[in-house]
């Protein structure tokens, strides 16, 4: 069958122009971005619902069933709000900040294994990619705090910098113990390494999991580590001078990050898209597709993060830094040694 010129071009774009499937990429990329945007809307609603019920109130109730449309109306309202930039602010830096915060939040999803082979790009340095991209977010926060030319914002930005760089170290070291056990940094490889049992069920994995959970809370600026935007101390921290949709983008990014960190925790510690190993008695026919398990585990992790946020009070800045430098870093360094011992005990082939 003879193809027309346009038809053949489309075909080539799908099948690969110089081996690059230009259009074939569009579907996963649009799916991932759409999922991030939609999930952020749903998560904001969920956050308000969960917080409401934890604090013996109901949360959003009136727009749509159980207030489901509340976030949509909020977003629309912010879209048509006047954008006020203080006359003394650095306009360019203030405009850059939402871009710098949001882009890494999306880039993390590139390596996420949503199901068997469901990855946009299975980078062999997957976990390192996740760590490095997530550490770009704070740069945007500092830019926003600096550019606003406001004391509250600057203080929020500085606190955020101190917090995020401090907690990055235990986070990286905790993940290092997992990389030792898996022997790979690729996210697919990490899931494959957990086909017998999840890493959280091993002693070094459990310690790494708990430490990572704490550092994830700090990286998300969530209670008990929400000092960068502590509303009772710093007005709104680094977002004080932001209004309109720039403000909304910070929160879109925050909830995209919440989802991303839940997914990373699930992938690295909880077996990713594989059914939980504690359910080994399930017959094979009852096993569900990987995406289903991934979604279930991620939802549980998101709930755990929200549960912690709305239960614990905020730490002081010196306490926050003490927990990290005097608590978590020595623990994770010890955990690396524990992981070595564990590998010597369990993997006979390794000890020579």
């Amino acid at each position: 069958m003879e193809r027309g010129p346009i038809e053949s071009l489309v075909h080539r774009l799908f099948a690969g122009l110089y081996g690059i499937p230009v259009l074939g990429w569009l579907i996963p990329i649009v799916l991932v971005l759409g999922m991030v945007a939609l999930a952020a809307l749903v998560l904001i609603w969920l956050e308000r619902k969960v917080s409401g019920h934890i604090q013996s109130r109901r949360g959003p109730l009136h727009n749509g069933p159980h207030g489901l449309l509340q976030t949509v109306w909020d977003a629309l309202k912010l879209l048509v709000k006047e954008d006020i930039v203080p006359s003394s602010a650095d306009r360019l830096i203030m405009l850059m900040a939402p871009f710098v915060v949001f882009t890494p939040a999306v880039l993390v999803y590139v390596v996420m294994p949503f199901g068997k082979g469901w990855t946009v790009a299975n980078l062999n340095i997957g976990l390192l990619w996740v760590v490095s991209v997530l550490s770009l977010g704070p740069v945007g926060i500092i830019l926003g705090g600096w550019g606003s030319h406001n004391k509250w914002s600057l203080l929020g930005g500085m606190r955020s910098a101190a917090q995020l760089i401090s907690y990055e170290i235990p986070s990286v070291l905790a993940l290092g113990a997992i990389v030792m056990m898996a022997g790979t940094m690729s996210m697919d490889g990490l899931v494959a390494a957990q086909d017998q049992y999840e890493f959280v069920l091993t002693p070094p994995g459990l310690i790494a999991f708990v430490v990572y959970l704490v550092t994830a809370l700090a990286e998300l600026n969530r209670n008990p580590f929400d000092l960068p935007e502590a509303e009772s101390e710093l007005v709104a921290g680094f977002v004080t001078e932001y209004s309109g949709f720039k403000f909304a983008i910070f929160f879109l990014a925050e909830f995209a990050n919440l989802l991303a960190l839940s997914m990373i925790t699930v992938t690295v510690f909880l077996g990713g898209w594989q059914p939980p190993s504690v359910l080994f008695f399930l017959p094979d026919s009852a096993q569900l597709p990987g995406v289903f398990w991934f979604a279930i585990k991620t939802t549980v992790m998101v709930f755990v993060f929200q549960w912690i946020k709305w239960t614990l009070p905020r730490l002081r800045i010196d306490q926050m830094l003490n927990v990290c430098w005097k608590g978590l870093i020595p623990i994770t360094l010890g955990n690396l040694a524990l992981a070595c011992v564990w590998l010597l005990l369990t993997e006979k082939s390794w000890a020579r």
């Binding site: 690969g16 110089y18 081996g19 690059i20 990429w25 990329i29 971005l33 945007a37 912010l78 879209l79 048509v80 709000k81 006047e82 954008d83 006020i84 203080p86 006359s87 003394s88 939402p98 871009f99 882009t103 999306v106 880039l107 999803y109 590139v110 946009v120 790009a121 299975n122 980078l123 390192l128 030319h149 406001n150 004391k151 509250w152 600057l154 203080l155 500085m158 101190a162 760089i165 401090s166 170290i169 070291l173 290092g176 990389v179 030792m180 022997g183 309109g244 949709f245 983008i249 010196d318 830094l321 003490n322 430098w325 005097k326 870093i329 020595p330 690396l336 070595c340 390794w350 020579r352």
Partner: protein
């Protein structure tokens, strides 16, 4: 015909996601620019300081503590650069690599203990 390697393909996908992500922000902000009102009043553009006129400049002194922690961070984040590749090829390096890494981590730990004893980790 020249075809892109797997490596190049993966990072091209990464690049596209990044560009699309940043483009999405740009699109939303531009869309909001078209929709939102702009009624300039000098009072609106004053820096917010809890409702009163701002006092002094924003360029106030900030604590040097923040920089100390930033320096400590640099010291420890270099560690990650070494630990990740070593952890990936753990089996290949075997006992030799294990001892090497043990010494490396021990030296870093000494640095942390030194900073601790010096009182650098105390927030004043």
């Amino acid at each position: 015909m020249w075809t892109a390697s797997d490596f190049l393909r993966q990072y091209l996908a990464v690049l596209i996601v990044g560009v699309v992500g940043a483009g999405l922000v740009g699109l939303l902000l531009a869309g909001s620019h078209l929709l939102r009102p702009a009624r300039r009043q000098p009072e609106k553009h004053i820096t917010y300081e809890s409702g009163v006129d701002p006092v002094g400049s924003m360029w106030t002194q900030s604590q040097v503590r923040y920089y100390v922690f930033a320096l400590l961070f640099v010291m420890f984040d270099v560690e990650a650069v070494f630990i990740f590749p070593w952890a990936t090829r753990l089996e290949a390096y075997g006992l030799f690599g294990l001892i090497e890494m043990g010494i490396f981590v021990f030296i870093l730990l000494l640095g942390l203990i030194y900073a601790w004893r010096k009182g650098v980790l105390k927030w004043v």
